[in-house]
């Protein structure tokens, strides 16, 4: 046990799940701190169980520790009972490996995976005794870095960060460390100089304090103006061009306690060929870049040998779109079966779900399968460009039922642009048709009744999607729609669950927010907001009260249709996909026209200017 745990150990017996905090995992990286030039604290702003499951953190932990003179450690947000104990005993937030307080680090990175974790970011800075605002941190304080999908519009938290990584961090983070070490060695490090130099010389670095924002009288953004001439006017995202060559960790820190994804996660490719119009991931991770099956097979074997996990999950946005899925699964099955390792595919599309595929994967063991039609009618599925037909769904569930499964989970979204009540009715009808399909399948398991679970989330307009300009339905509308859909379902074999519209509204505010939200988040932190992604911690009324006291109208961000010619807070970022393309897609949505996927036809999204190997994009420049 590390030295600082002498204090921690006395409180660990009095908190729930102490294994979250005790550390000492096999595979953690310990370095001699007197011999490293930069110490990096990689923070995941949620619990240990969630953070340990994140593949991005695993990759970047490995990438940073590959540098001999950099030591990267992990930090998670302690659960509420632990936070109270730490405060009671005067213990600040510490890193897992060394047990050292965060103030002793040179750099602190936060991965921003979802907007509702913003309060945890501030909560963790607060627990560490670090001033929240970048402007209040002097040269002696660690540099605070943000990255991950929410960094594409991190304006609501821009005042708290020193810089953001836009795009994939495998090269950017080591470059940031190198620059830091170099300036320290040369004795010319000041925070101000460092941030300027990083923005100037490292591609993908966005330093919010170097851009002045002005607003129009109506509250919309007027302009972003760089305060130096030598920094980019728009920050272009970084990508790893060749995924086969890109760093992939061949070992892992092994948690003792059970985590959310306690298995090998094999990243098969990045990006998505589909272009669903509500989906941010489908746009910001473009272009598609595949790994070859041989490389994946070798990486999977290495990970198996170094971890001993008995499950391999093939992760990507839509795994069945991988061009070499057949070859990959064949290669894997050559050795996974005899070693009793299960394969699992988390993201199946109904149009590519086949009996052959199902026979290969571990979900055979569970009795349930999950699909995401997203909308209840063909009209609305065309509007969102889901490109999935009713027949596809019926065929897919037919295959599943014939194989003995009896439960199907279907994901939908309500509040989508142009949605009408008949689209909601369509969700209920689709569920009934699935039930009917069960009884129409002669090979079904006759001893079991079918069950269909429909889970309905609320549409949230997200930056860098064709629906980024759309107004979110008001809470009353969303609640009314949820109730109406509930009334359409009479069959007991259909289970209906829906997301909390209040959480979705706050998420919409934070997703499309600008820098003027900072005081609200600061106040939220002061009021003790944390773990807002957790139902038991989220309090809508408190959020509204915080916005009110800061003079912020949540409807301005969530329920307003943004002007098509308006300067958007995230226009400062170039994610590859152009605004013109997003606008074209938006217009096609309103016409009810679909767009073919990238493999069928290039629709000119613009992401190919970023380059990339094995992209599926006929126009990519490699």
């Amino acid at each position: 046990m590390n030295k600082n745990n002498t204090n921690i150990s006395s409180i660990l017996k009095s908190v729930s799940k102490p294994g979250r905090y005790s550390g000492g995992e096999y595979g953690q990286i310990i370095k001699d701190k007197s011999k490293v030039a930069a110490r990096f604290a990689f923070c995941f702003p949620d619990t240990y169980e969630i953070g340990m499951s994140n593949l991005g953190v695993r990759i970047l932990y490995g990438v940073l520790n590959k540098e001999d003179d950099v030591w990267c450690e992990r930090v998670y947000n302690p659960w509420i009972d632990m936070q109270e104990k730490m405060k009671e005993h005067g213990l600040p937030l510490r890193a897992c490996e060394s047990g050292d307080p965060l103030t002793e680090f040179d750099m602190i990175g936060f991965t921003l995976q979802y907007e509702m974790s913003y309060t945890n970011v501030l909560n963790m800075l607060d627990l560490a005794g670090i001033p929240l605002r970048s402007a209040d941190r002097d040269d002696s304080m660690p540099i605070i870095i943000g990255g991950g999908p929410c960094a594409y519009n991190a304006e609501p938290v821009a005042d708290f960060f020193d810089l953001f990584n836009i795009g994939e961090g495998e090269e950017m983070l080591p470059e940031l460390c190198r620059l830091y070490i170099k300036m320290k060695k040369e004795g010319r490090y000041t925070k101000r100089e460092y941030l300027h130099e990083a923005a100037r010389s490292i591609e993908g670095i966005y330093v919010p304090s170097l851009y002045e924002v002005t607003y129009n009288e109506d509250g919309t953004v007027k302009a972003y103006t760089p305060i130096y001439d030598d920094i980019p006017r728009q920050v272009k995202k970084r990508i790893m061009k060749d995924m086969d060559e890109s760093y992939f960790p061949e070992d892992a820190v092994m948690p003792y306690i059970e985590t959310v994804h306690d298995r090998i996660m094999l990243e098969v490719y990045r990006g998505c060929i589909r272009g669903c119009r509500f989906c941010q991931a489908g746009m910001i991770y473009r272009p598609v870049r595949e790994k070859t099956p041989e490389v994946l097979n070798r990486q999977a074997k290495c990970l198996y040998e170094s971890t001993g996990y008995d499950e391999i999950s093939l992760t990507s946005l839509s795994i069945s779109d991988y061009t070499e899925l057949e070859r990959l699964t064949d290669l894997l099955l050559e050795w996974t079966n005899e070693n009793m390792i299960n394969l699992s595919l988390p993201s199946l599309r109904v149009d590519s779900f086949t009996k052959e595929l199902m026979d290969k994967i571990a979900t055979v063991r569970s009795s349930s399968l999950t699909f995401a039609p997203e909308a209840g009618t063909q009209r609305l599925r065309d509007v969102i460009n889901k490109n999935v037909r009713e027949d596809d769904l019926m065929r897919a569930v037919g295959v599943a039922f014939a194989a003995g499964k009896n439960t199907v989970k279907l994901y939908f979204m309500s509040g989508l642009p142009t949605e009408r009540y008949e689209d909601l009715k369509g969700i209920a009808d689709l569920a009934s048709m699935v039930i009917d399909k069960y009884y129409d399948t002669p090979e079904r398991n006759r001893s079991k009744k079918p069950q269909v679970t429909i889970s309905v989330s609320c549409f949230i307009p997200k930056p860098f999607t064709p629906f980024q300009w759309e107004a979110q339905d008001t809470m009353e509308m969303l609640a009314d729609k949820q109730e109406y859909l509930g009334s359409c379902i009479t069959d007991k074999k259909i289970r209906y669950t829906h997301h909390d519209a209040r959480v979705s509204r706050i998420e919409a505010v934070l997703a499309r927010g600008d820098r003027r939200l900072a005081p609200a988040l600061e106040l939220a932190c002061k009021e003790g907001f944390k773990f807002d992604a957790w139902d038991e911690c989220f309090d809508y009324d408190k959020w509204i009260s915080v916005f009110e006291r800061c003079g912020i109208d949540p409807a301005f961000y969530a329920n307003r249709a943004f002007g098509l010619d308006e300067v958007l807070p995230w226009d400062i970022i170039d994610c590859g996909v152009t605004k013109e393309f997003l606008l074209r897609e938006r217009n096609k949505a309103y016409e009810g026209n679909t767009t073919p996927n990238c493999r069928e036809k290039c629709s000119g999204c613009g992401a190919n200017k970023l380059g990339g190997e094995r992209t599926c994009c006929p126009k990519a420049r490699s």
Partner: protein, 244 residues
């Protein structure tokens, strides 16, 4: 530690090891100390399942629909207690020396969870009847007289609610104590005791100290969990022979 490519070669080599006529049980004695005291029994089982894969051992797998390695642990340890005498039986189906098994496992473990002995067992886990513990209690409520006070109190019955399979029952826990000594060392109470550890009459040492804390008012109202350390040091059979 073997490199990943060495492991692949090793995996292949294992298949050429002489097969055993029937699976052989190998007993592993291990320590579970430091941060590992916060890891539950269930999590420990899962950890060992992965460790035996990493260590490239010729593990015997159960036959059937869902093949798995057979891991049998001795008396479980509760969260918050350390131990230098835990036992785990594994089964192998090919020839491999106990020394090699131990070496390979330790290459995949840490200093806080480490195999200290590996051998062919002669005794059954059911023979375990007693367990010895070293306990220390640190608290503001401790004075010079406290050890004497505890030694007096332990002679009288102490009734505690004990969880049994049939539900909670109030029992006199002193009936489950074989030996007990207590002294003051640098302001902390140090207890050495031997408690019943059979599967039917297991006395959790934490229950004992919470009883003492209540009866002798050791804690001045602060929570017990923040003031003790428990280490299980040895296991015995009914005749007080050291269990191996």
């Amino acid at each position: 530690m073997l490199s990943e490519s060495q492991k692949l070669i090793e995996k292949k080599r294992i298949k050429s090891l002489p097969e055993l006529e029937r699976p052989r049980t190998v007993r592993l004695k291990f320590i579970k100390v430091g941060s590992l005291q916060y890891i539950s029994h269930l999590d420990l089982q899962r950890t060992f399942n992965r460790v035996i894969v990493r260590a490239c051992l010729p593990i015997w797998y159960t036959k059937g629909f869902n093949p798995h390695a057979k891991l049998v642990f001795s008396t479980p340890l509760s969260i918050g207690a350390q131990s230098t005498c835990e036992f785990l039986d594994i089964r192998i189906d090919r020839e491999m020396s106990c020394e090699t098994i131990m070496e390979r496992l330790n290459a995949e473990l840490t200093e806080e969870l480490k195999i200290v002995d590996a051998y062919i067992p002669e005794r059954d886990f059911a023979d375990i009847k007693w367990a010895s513990y070293d306990i220390s209690i640190t608290s503001g409520g401790i004075s010079e007289n406290t050890p004497e006070q505890i030694m007096q109190r332990i002679k009288e019955p102490i009734f505690m609610l004990k969880k049994t399979k049939a539900g909670e029952k109030e029992i006199d826990i002193t009936g489950l104590i074989h030996s007990f000594s207590c002294k003051l060392v640098e302001g902390d109470i140090k207890i050495s005791c031997t408690l019943s550890a059979s599967s039917t009459e297991y006395l959790n040492p934490e229950l004992l100290i919470s009883g003492l804390a209540r009866e002798c008012d050791l804690l001045c109202g602060s929570p017990l969990e923040e003031h003790y350390d428990i280490i299980r040091t040895s296991l015995y059979d009914a005749e007080f022979n050291l269990f191996k």
